[in-house]
Amino acid sequence: MKELVKITLGLVAIFIGAGLIIGVTYKYTSPVRFYAEKKEKEAALKEMAPEATDPIKPAGNWTIHGKSFEYYLATSSAKPVAYIASTAGKGYSSFIQMLVSLDTDLKIKDVKILRHGETPGLGDQIEEKSFTDQFKGKSLPQIKLIKGETKENIQSITGATISCRAVTNGVKDAVQTLVDTYGAGLKTAPAEVIK
């Protein structure tokens, strides 16, 4: 009985000590981490629409793969210059998180891979500029993955087909959402001018 109490108290003492150490570390590191993450997100958004002078604000939410993602409206002196959506694709071994930005003609300005856990050396080639730059200037019907040479569509990377497909589908869904949201507004805008 005496030993039982001793063992229990010993374990409790260790657990309390460990809890204190973790708590103190968390107290000092979590604000730093929070600001760093916030700053990273802002920097990534800014990169997607460099000409936007106003701070980029979330404009709404949309859903893909059962998760909610935000989309943003980038404005310069209150005039829209770009539409940005965060999106994801289901890759070979992870969810690939991305940002997609469209210009006001609803053509892709830029695609940025934020986070992924694809196979090093194969799937992670989706991060390379030679792949993501293919999306630039493309409109919605052109976003299609092709195995083999193509200038019109998106060319897949050998050995990373699943990852490429995930990126392409994620981008396509995001563009679709942005076009649905802002495309209609664009079409009606000139009509109002005529009235």
Binding site: G10, I21, Y26, T29, P120, G121
Partner: protein, 214 residues
Amino acid sequence: MSNTVNYGTIVKNGIFGENPVFRLALSLCPAVAVTSGVKNGFLMGVAVLFVMTMVNATVSLLRNFISPKVRIPSYMFIIATWVTVTDQVMAAYQRAVYKDMGLYIMLIVAFAIVLSRAEMFASKNKLLPSIVDGAAMGMGFLLALVLIGVFREFLGKGALWGYQILSLDGKPLKPLLIMILPTGGFFAMGLIMGFLNWIDRRFYGGTGSGGGAH
């Protein structure tokens, strides 16, 4: 353990004689998982080095206090504590590194080498030798990961530390793509382990006792 402690022996033991990966064959899973590049291997090694040093120090300090009957849960808790601290500090101050390694840091809790050094060395020795042993073992682990990383990244990607070295007509040359896949990790580890055993037998008259899965 004798009363006189030879730090040189502990250090040599950790890096060569009982190298965690090549001689003790412990923690092979992370050694395969994170060594597709030199950089990842190095950073993982640094994290393990820190955790092992801190765990050995803590266990050594508490060695007369921890009841032998619950020593394993106690060690696990101490390990988990220091791994969590490493994870939090890395997430706050080393964002770029954390992006690559974040997934693996928490796995250090389950590394056999950390627990085995706490049990085999730190629980029986004074504070300073335990710290040296933790650091030496961590160093041995780090060097092993870097060695495997160099082997795999160079053969698999033609690069080192992310910089392309081999190229053909301006395109990056990748001699053996299989080396950066998990399969290649086993190839690399087996070949290096065999080579080290061969050196040991040929020049030092050892028995080449590496291996034995854990």
